[in-house]
């Protein structure tokens, strides 16, 4: 029975073998592919003032004196003469590649252009003049270019395309998965005169300093010499920084994990007073003397799980305390005008609340403009300015309980 033993041995050997799955996948999928550009090439692009352009997308808003500035994300800034909010007049478009944010002080406009900070003379708002460029100050904007394998490029636009990806892997429940990417390619050849920003702003000016937050840090620029500001400091804050709101000599910095409070009595040396932590969500903030109003929202970028308004007691800035939470629909930016709190609810409209009693603020709704898609608001000296996906609308808010529409600057659909 030698053969039988041989078979038995073979059988036992087979028992010790391990099977597996070999999986070949070939996937085609629609995606938005980034188009990279070297920053040196971006700087060669002309930063010019051109005739007023149609507003195609809305970004941030800012007011300075009688002028309204509307950022068109990554493209530049629309400038309007807003001396009469009922009839804002487009006066110019400032073409700034990679622009997202802005701030104005003493007729000087500060605007980002990808990793650089630009300074413009606004003495003639219809024709701003480039004064200065500080290079390489917002380095977090650099993106890894997987084609050149470098971290010195910025994404200038995206293209919609179909990508083909093949991969192969082996699977066995006894061992971990090993994935081997075969290739990845494109089969079808993204003590001065200050202006006022919204609660979603990432730039703010105070005490001769420009404070600009990027994703992970607070950047300080000395702007005492208006024609030649200088970068002075970068303070690491942690990932997920979103907004900055100045109030008196304090900065309230919103991140998707909480709110940082910095004192700027010494403007060049911001001092952290406290951190107020909340669940992960996007969180613009506005404040008055005693309370901070923080909105937390869900969304693909925020990765949040709640849509609420939080009222935080900041009488002691070193020990912020949650007072009350109110359920909202999808709150974005917010604004505070005396005892009225305005909240932008994205596609759910625009709401106003009586904030006299902070314990009831979310329950005492004054008005709900359900049709007004809104993302940020500035309670300005002449009008309440509300920006949303569809454009910028201005309201007379002398009667807090009943907003009166003055004008709207609508987004013009892009015609290919």
């Amino acid at each position: 029975m030698n053969l039988k033993k041989y078979f038995l041995f073979l059988g036992l050997a087979l028992c010790c073998l391990s099977g597996c799955d070999k999986v070949d996948s070939n996937t085609y999928y629609k995606t938005r592919l980034p188009i990279f550009e070297k920053m040196s090439d971006v700087r060669k692009m002309m930063t010019t003032v051109v005739a007023p352009q149609p507003l195609e997308y809305t970004g941030k808003i800012y007011i300075f004196k009688d002028f309204l500035f509307i950022n068109e994300p990554m493209k530049g800034i629309h400038i309007f003469n807003n001396s009469n909010p009922s009839t804002p007049i487009a006066v110019a478009f400032l073409n700034i590649p990679g622009n997202v944010d802005m701030a104005v002080k003493d007729n000087v406009l500060y605007a980002d252009s990808y990793v650089d900070l630009l300074t413009f003379d606004l003495s003639t708002p219809t024709n701003p003049k480039l004064l200065n460029r500080i290079e390489e100050v917002f380095k977090n904007v650099y993106q890894y270019n997987y084609e050149t394998k470098s971290l010195n490029d910025v994404i200038v636009r995206y293209v919609d395309t179909v990508v083909n990806r093949e991969y192969f892997h082996k699977y066995n429940p006894y061992v971990s998965i090993k994935t081997e990417m075969v290739y990845y390619n494109n089969s079808n050849s993204s003590g001065g005169s200050y202006g006022q920003g919204g609660s979603m702003a990432r730039f703010t000016l105070a005490n001769e300093y420009l404070y600009a937050v990027d994703n992970a840090s607070l950047n300080l620029f000395d702007v005492s010499n208006t024609s030649k500001p200088s970068f002075t400091k970068n303070i690491k804050l942690g990932w997920g920084i979103e907004t900055i709101f100045p109030y008196k000599n304090n900065l309230f910095i919103g991140s998707n994990a909480g709110m940082y409070i910095y004192n700027i009595d010494n403007a060049a040396q911001p001092k952290e007073l406290s951190r107020y932590e909340h669940v992960r969500a996007c969180d613009p903030v506005v404040v008055n003397d005693d309370y901070a109003f923080v909105t937390l929202r869900t969304g693909a970028i925020c990765a949040g799980v709640v849509n609420v308004l939080e009222v935080v007691d900041i009488k002691d800035l070193t020990k912020p305390k949650l007072v009350k939470t109110f359920q909202m629909q999808n709150p974005h930016g917010l604004g505070l005008a005396n005892d009225v709190l305005y909240i932008c609810e994205g596609k759910f409209g625009f709401k106003s609340f009586d904030a006299k009693d902070v314990n009831k603020v979310g329950d005492v709704q004054l008005e709900h403009l359900a049709q007004l898609n809104s993302t940020d608001v500035i309670p300005g000296p002449k009008s309440l300015i509300v920006i949303g996906e569809n454009g910028v609308c201005q309201y007379d808010y002398s009667n807090k309980a009943k907003l009166k529409l003055l004008s709207c600057i609508s987004v013009q659909p892009i015609v290919e």
Partner: protein, 209 residues
């Protein structure tokens, strides 16, 4: 279930054709398809085989069955297969009460028994593939020598294909508009063609007559 009933019907109807002389044998087997000695993600196999004695100790036959492959690495999928195959078998000293045998199966596994998905956001179709399975084992003859039991261990290869079209619905996502190059997507956002090469150890018990 209907697949199993169909196979049993095929098997029994064939039995009546071949008769019961020992030139023709019928074997029903059932067992497990495993990745290895432990019991992770076990599949099952049931099959019926009819063989004809060609020359001394050599048999040739055809078979059909029903098999389930567990593919837990991919969303807990189960792949169902109807194997149709030809078998060559060598039985060493078949006259003894206990014999040993070696066999090899070659054929095609039909994958269309898997339930297709066809919704607005997802469409999935399945296809089978080639199969190959060498085995070795024992034959235990009964005293009457009209029936026998088998125990075998083998390696099994089964190919299978899944074509999946799907569209994600994410809130606040701007639709991606592609002008050209999306012919393969058939109106969906994603298309994945996946070819599985399943390699298993089979451990089978059988009853033949």
């Amino acid at each position: 279930m209907k697949e199993i009933l169909l196979l049993l019907l095929i098997a029994f109807s064939s039995t009546s054709i071949f008769g019961q002389d020992k030139k023709n044998i019928t074997l029903f087997e059932g067992g497990i398809l495993t990745y290895g000695p432990a019991t992770h993600e076990l599949g099952v196999s049931f099959r019926g085989i009819h063989s004809v004695k060609l020359i001394a100790d050599m048999y040739a036959g055809i078979g059909a069955g029903y098999e389930k492959y567990e593919l837990n690495e991919h969303d807990n999928n189960t792949f169902k297969i109807i194997p149709l195959f030809a078998q060559a078998k060598y039985v060493h000293r078949a006259d003894k009460s206990t014999s040993i045998f070696g066999a090899i199966d070659l054929g095609y596994g039909i994958g269309s028994v898997n339930k297709d998905v066809n919704s607005e956001l997802e469409k999935i179709t399945f296809k089978g593939g080639l199969l190959a399975s060498p085995q070795i084992g024992f034959v235990f003859n009964t005293k009457r020598r009209q029936e026998f039991l088998t125990f075998s261990i083998g390696y099994k290869y089964q190919g299978a294909t899944e074509n999946r079209y799907y569209t994600y619905t994410w809130p606040n996502k701007t639709p991606i508009e592609v002008e050209t190059g999306d012919e393969k997507l058939k109106g969906f956002d994603n298309y994945t063609h996946t070819k599985y090469h399943m390699h298993r150890v089979s451990i089978m018990l059988g009853f033949g007559f």
